[in-house]
Subunit: 341 residues, 4 copies
């Protein structure tokens, strides 16, 4: 049984484990004040092209989202999310648990647009309703689509004009930035969004997300929020070492490129086999539509999520590749498919 | 510069890292549903002597405390803590951030007694005040003292009579259970308290605390609370593998014993040198009182916390040992001390 | 300018003010422990036909909703509401501010059905999502529709089978129960729902809502929640006296009947004039659809809410009547209409 | 049985009820946008001597405290209160329920000083602890003492230097300002504190507190917070009419002076009878110390709180007078006392 279920099925890239081993007995200060974390933060600032951003290392996506969003908002302010947004339906109400409503915008491709956000603003004119304040986007999105530079520019411009905070969930930012269709660079982001995070967990780390706060007014006292939300590790070095390895050379991007290449092989084979897709997803998640009978066959040998019923006979499944996906496993899956189509 | 600052200055015990390496490329389910976590949970149930407890693995102490306490209490209910309690003054209001007051009981030795808790109950008779509901204790305490079995029996009995939840923070439970003065065993705990956690971070793990919920009424839906508070790792295996190693043989206790032995060497040498202590602490934290001039000298070669001013000329410092503390470093510290006393 | 804007434009029914005057200098205990409140609670228990319910008097609808719902739910649990529900879009995220998500079900007529709730349950299968637990309904609804007894029976049955709490917002319960189409009685409610409130503010009181908790497991410590949320008046007598007057004889129902009769006169005249309505609303709120030009004319003499754009030329308006609406004002409005149609 | 239990035993001053009667059938907008509220706000701005403050009318003290403090603070920030402070021990954790810790300063006379606040700041140096941000004081205090102008100047200066918010709970501000020992005027307050409220409930209104926000940075969007916390009455006129009456002429001060004069009569008689007091309280609450046997006798004819055990034989009681306290009742109490002393 091989798993295409997600991009966190394996441990960490061996280079990361090696770095953990080598540094293991060095004594360091706790709570993210160790030398590895400080160096990782410097590296990340360099890679995003701005020394004036603040960078913090946290352990997971839900934790990063809830800590950041609750730090950025006042009690009556709300977040806006695409209807597919992770904070909306897949984090057990973590944002609401910090007191804030998440407003949904229906969108087919998982991406928010100025028009969608504008409609929310118009529907919330006064103090009898929450005040929409933070726009939450994911790149790549929960359904594998990615934002183009021009789209982000327009959305960011709209947010600035309307005094909204633009926050990007980058759980799969590596895959987005390494997509064939991508025209963004990591160092474009501080100009385009107010805060974002660079996902480590889904791109080769044991755990870890690097939050980058670009807008000055959002920076103050962030470490207090981390501590209060249980997001400050005693052995912060565990995060620092990993992000240092990911960004020391090009490992972060190499791993994402591998994941994308594996997804690309699958996509290509499916296209050739005339398979339809639920959505256009040029990243490491793809959503082919199969007959239910075929899905049942595939499930005997492969592990994956059945994503959505399409009609009585067809459903889409989600195939996710990662830094650890083996080329022979992809080839095997393609061979398997050919038997049935 | 050698550090006696805390018990989380180094990485993890090599056996744990080795286990991470060996399992690295095995594919597993996420979110704590992997085989390693399931096996670790079984092992822990076995070690605590009860198959009917629920066990959950979280990443750190503040996170475990806030997730458990907010899951256990209704909105108007409060926790009671010794004035030295970690949740009271060292977790950035994490419990209050989930909506609950923490009531303080002054106590010199860091330990709560039925009398102390009773006084709080008497001071909170009606609905104009919070309703005290959960008694928070730490073992070992924040100042190194430990609970004896008889003390826990009395406190637990009082809690049951008064319908209070007794919760034990076990960030340093290993050191407590391996103390020379200890008469508790891990498998005594489910009879004595309603929930407790077994600290991994401060006893040889990279990170990780194992929460054990003993009382049936506290168990329901706990994984929802973990997810909501950002306490559920995508790669839950990282915690499972570590706790499996800690409890597979006797590693958890071996490491704590080493830490205690190192503290014992320091304690013994200080006693012989007629040094006074701030408090009686038979575990891996000791608090000798030194002249400020001596502290200044020691700080040139050693890293530690200056804990409390005792008078104009004297202060207590905190020396913490761990699984990783080197015997020669302890000997060196003792030699250094002898030069000055 | 006469207002049909809402049912809280005037003060209180004169009989209520008279009772306030007459009792004014009697000394009473505070915080709802006065004789008037105790008597009002007894009266309400009698009227709802059950002595085993708990009754609490609060000041307004949002306050009652947030205090009750946050008392009833655990942190990971969510409320389900019709898309028109007051808690969803018109209470500034009051429920979310207590930590709970509100899940929306699209429905044209403002009423939830078992099917709608079932779909939400099916969409929330595991701990990565909130756990739907409380079903929030309003009667009459925010768009003037009312629940029939059979509908409530089915919904209540579904809730019991699925271990859900059924909570009814009765801000306009008087108008619902006095509707021509109604087949419910006040004393049917404890069998049908787990908790509900009887609205005073919109039916002749200066302020005040009487929360009735029917299900035993929801009763404990409710006064703590009231105090904590700022919902316990020092001079609780102010609420007790009013509810005593409303239920001493038949005042509560007399006032609602008047409001409905006034709405009925408007509805009848509009039907005769072939005006269309946005929705079927047999209570004290009606939503006729007018040409925008006519609305502009009416706004010169009458105050009301423009509810919703219907198409380029037409919009619906909301006309609300109350205990204080004057028959001659209604006649005047009808005359005015006739001029333009 | 006559009650000296509190200053909210009766209804409202007759002039206030009269105003409610006379305005009863005037149609007004809801939610505090009525003409009475707008006029009351203008009057209050005039009386506090500043047109640039924001004024909001809320229903009670706990509600005002929790709405204001949660609006003013970010999640990691805490309030500082005297150990006698109402928010600390008598509001069922209302502030903690909004997420914020309340830090206590022991003080005998109920009043905070710069030294007391400074000690809290020094004890909270970093992100492992909450960040003290708001200083909560009451005037008069919960034990009847009052702040002198010079004391407030020093405390306010300290707060400004340390970037702290100074917030005054004025539940009994009338009594404080009308004390014989007072040297403050209502229009001094905007210079001295950042926000305060003027208590109506305990000074002749049915209910109502007028929050005055002086510091610009605290003003934004306050009505959102009111709505979210259930603190915005549909019939806001009920508050507006009352505050208009209280401040139209001198009623607010006349009522407080009466209450103080009644307390003064009691105090004077007690002093002559050589009775000791628990604390110096030149306002409408006094705390004489009596033998327990005398207290038992008094309880047969009078209602009051037994405040605190002083020793085995003596306790202090709390006597509270109000706008409604009758001179003959005070004389009767004094006569009764004489019988026993």
């Amino acid at each position: 049984m091989y798993s295409f279920k997600n991009d966190y099925s394996e441990g960490a890239h061996p280079q990361i484990l090696k770095a953990l081993m080598e540094s293991n007995l060095v004594q360091e200060d706790g709570y993210g004040e160790d030398q590895y974390t400080l160096k990782a933060i410097e590296l990340i600032k360099e890679k995003v092209g701005r020394t004036d951003v603040d960078v913090h290392l946290l352990t997971g996506g839900t934790q990063t989202n809830l800590t950041a969003i609750s730090a950025f908002l006042r009690p009556h302010e709300a977040a806006i999310s695409a209807s597919t947004g992770h904070i909306l339906g897949h984090e057990t109400g973590a944002i609401e648990a910090t007191g804030h409503k998440v407003l949904s915008v229906d969108c087919k491709d998982g991406k928010l647009t100025p028009d969608g956000v504008k409609a929310v603003l118009e529907g919330h004119p006064d103090e009898h309703m929450v005040k929409p304040k933070l726009v939450y986007i994911s790149n790549s999105t929960e359904i594998g689509s990615i934002y183009k530079k021009e789209e982000l520019k327009k959305l960011g411009g709209f947010c600035r004009e309307n005094n909204l905070i633009l926050y990007m969930d980058g759980a799969r930012l590596g895959s987005a930035l390494c997509s064939d269709e991508n025209d963004l660079q990591l160092n474009d982001l501080p100009e385009l969004v107010d805060a974002f995070y660079i996902g480590g967990t889904k791109n080769g780390a044991l755990l870890g997300e690097a939050l980058v706060i670009c807008r000055d007014s959002l920076k103050a006292d962030f470490r207090y929020h981390m501590k209060q939300k249980g997001a400050m590790l005693a052995k912060g070095r565990l995060l620092g070492i990993q992000f240092f390895e990911l960004f020391r050379d090009n490992l972060f991007f190499d791993l994402a490129e591998h994941a994308n290449r594996m997804a690309g092989m699958l996509r290509e084979a499916l296209i050739q086999a005339k398979v339809q897709f639920l959505t256009h997803s040029p990243s490491n998640q793809i959503f082919p539509i199969f007959p239910n009978s075929l899905i049942a066959e595939l499930e005997k040998k492969y592990s994956f999520h059945v994503w959505e019923k399409v009609d009585a006979d067809y459903s889409s499944i989600r195939l996710v590749t990662s830094w650890a996906t083996k080329e022979e496993a992809v080839e095997g899956f393609i061979e398997e498919l050919k038997k049935w189509m």
